[in-house]
């Protein structure tokens, strides 16, 4: 519950966005995000809510941890399991 997961916004429909998390598309609430977001923006998702729009210059550094984690971690890796859980548990988008 401490680690958010970054994803790329595909489309926005009112208070919700369809977001791509490393190839998995999910619906995320925009109720508490700090700045307006649109398609192409990256957000940090936490339990189904975008909590931050990630500035463009910071996207590479933010994604690196997760890409490495999801690529290299075994099935019993706790950190990767938390990240996969966040992605799997987020509501399935309708895009």
């Amino acid at each position: 519950m401490c680690l958010g997961v970054p994803g790329k916004v595909i489309s926005v429909d009112g208070p919700f966005a369809v977001v791509d998390f490393f190839g998995v598309r999910r619906q995320v609430s925009l109720d508490i995000v700090d700045e307006p977001v649109g398609p192409g923006d990256y957000i940090l998702n936490h339990v189904g809510f975008a909590i931050r729009r990630i500035p463009e210059e910071d996207i590479g550094g933010t994604l690196a941890l997760y890409e490495g984690l999801l690529r290299e971690a075994g099935a019993d890796d706790l950190m990767a399991a938390d990240v996969r859980g966040e992605i799997a548990g987020t509501k399935v988008g309708n895009a």
């Binding site: 519950m1 401490c2 958010g4 508490i32 339990v47 189904g48 809510f49 909590i51 938390d82 548990g89």
Partner: protein
């Protein structure tokens, strides 16, 4: 070479770099060198610093970072696991409501955590209805799909509390209510900072919780307790860089707040989320499991949301739990001391014996963010030479 490491630490770091796939070995080597040199310059042993985040502990343990720290530097995990600090009487409330026939929805790990006598899983085994949800929104959807009363047992720090606040404000159905066990991190840092037993000399603040609160919130804390705070991210290099800056601030006796995670954390934080949070919750004093009474550490629903507050909507029959005996092993569990930074899992006689992830005794062995479960998985002080 000023950044030279002692030979043993150097070989451990080289081993870590080879085996644990640091992306930037040169930077890792340099940061580890700075940590070793500055810790030596402080001239005390041990120098204890604390982080308050389960994901930090996962990264430290997973990447074997403790093996690269100098022996005089003690990096301890404080109360950073939201599942672990949910107090037994709070779990009891959820268990009692479940046993009274209400449908309880909560985050997965919460089902395994025992109250004084039972966990939600135990109640489920006895016939109560308990559902796992991933988010507060899912609990609302569950309520929309049934006529039954659905109580969302809401746990976690400010990062999850803002999500609960958002669903409370989004006009949920009448059969939905919230049993809030949410906790607020800044006040517990005040308590732990004053505990004479652990002598914490600086804090590494959690990156994503600070995304909500902003780093500015730690300025008054640093000033009052004369302790430095560094906000750090979750990559091994983020943590090494955060610790290097933290020991420099300890050495220089500079109680400053430094943000080493600017790509996620600003000084003001997420103002919109803060407004939602404080429009729904008020801070009240309450106990954190095994730690202490924490003034302003618990988040409870404000009076205007009383109609959504399970505590005010339903009588909670705690007396019904008194017929059950608590586990005899519970008395030996030292989760509280571990979360206060006074003890480590290796000091616990149950750790890895009676208490393992499949049959946890204490909350710290339940959650993927609990110190005991993390140490059980990765080892707390890995011997990299033996890998």
């Amino acid at each position: 070479m000023p950044d030279a490491l002692p030979t043993a630490a150097e070989s451990r770091l080289d081993s870590a770099i080879r085996q644990l796939k640091f992306r930037d070995p040169e930077t890792a080597r340099k940061l580890a060198g700075t940590i070793a040199r500055v810790t030596k310059e402080i001239g005390r042993s041990p120098v204890s610093v604390m982080h308050v985040c389960g994901s930090h502990e996962q990264a430290i343990a997973k990447f074997g970072l403790r093996a690269t720290f100098p022996k005089d530097l003690n990096v301890i995990m404080g109360p950073g696991c939201p599942v672990c600090i949910t107090d037994m009487p709070e779990v009891d409330e959820g268990v009692a409501l479940a046993r009274q026939g209400l449908l309880i929805a909560s985050y997965g790990d919460m089902l395994k955590v025992r109250g004084t006598v039972q966990s939600l899983n135990d109640a489920q085994a006895d016939g109560a209805d308990v559902a796992v949800v991933y988010s507060a929104s899912q609990a609302v959807e569950l309520a929309r799909s049934t006529d039954r009363e659905v109580v969302f047992f809401a746990t976690g720090f400010e990062t999850t509390a803002v999500a609960t606040a958002a669903v409370i404000r989004s006009n949920p159905p009448k059969n939905f209510s919230v049993l809030s066990a949410h906790k607020y991190i800044p006040p517990v840092m005040e308590i732990v900072a004053e505990m004479p037993e652990n002598r914490v000399e600086g804090f590494l603040a959690a990156g994503h919780a600070a995304t909500i609160t902003g780093w500015g919130i730690f300025e008054a804390f640093a000033e009052k307790h004369r302790l430095p705070v560094v906000v750090a991210g979750f990559e091994p290099l983020d943590i090494l860089a955060g610790l290097a800056r933290l020991v420099e601030l300890v050495r220089d006796r500079e109680p400053a707040v430094v943000n080493m995670f600017p790509r996620c954390v600003t000084k003001e934080g997420n103002r919109r989320a803060q407004e939602e949070l404080w429009s729904v919750f008020r801070p009240v004093g309450g106990r954190w499991r095994g730690i202490a009474h924490v003034p302003n550490g618990n988040l409870r629903l404000r009076d205007e949301w009383a109609h959504l507050d399970a505590r005010r909507r339903f009588p909670i029959d705690l007396a019904s739990l008194w017929d059950y005996a608590p586990s005899a092993l519970t008395a030996d569990c030292i989760c509280g001391d571990i979360m206060s930074g006074i003890a480590s899992p290796s000091n616990c006689k149950l750790f890895g014996k009676e208490c393992v992830p499949d049959t946890p005794v204490g909350a710290c062995m339940v959650s993927s963010e609990g110190t005991c479960k993390i140490w059980h998985q990765y080892g707390g002080h890995p011997d990299l030479g033996a890998l």
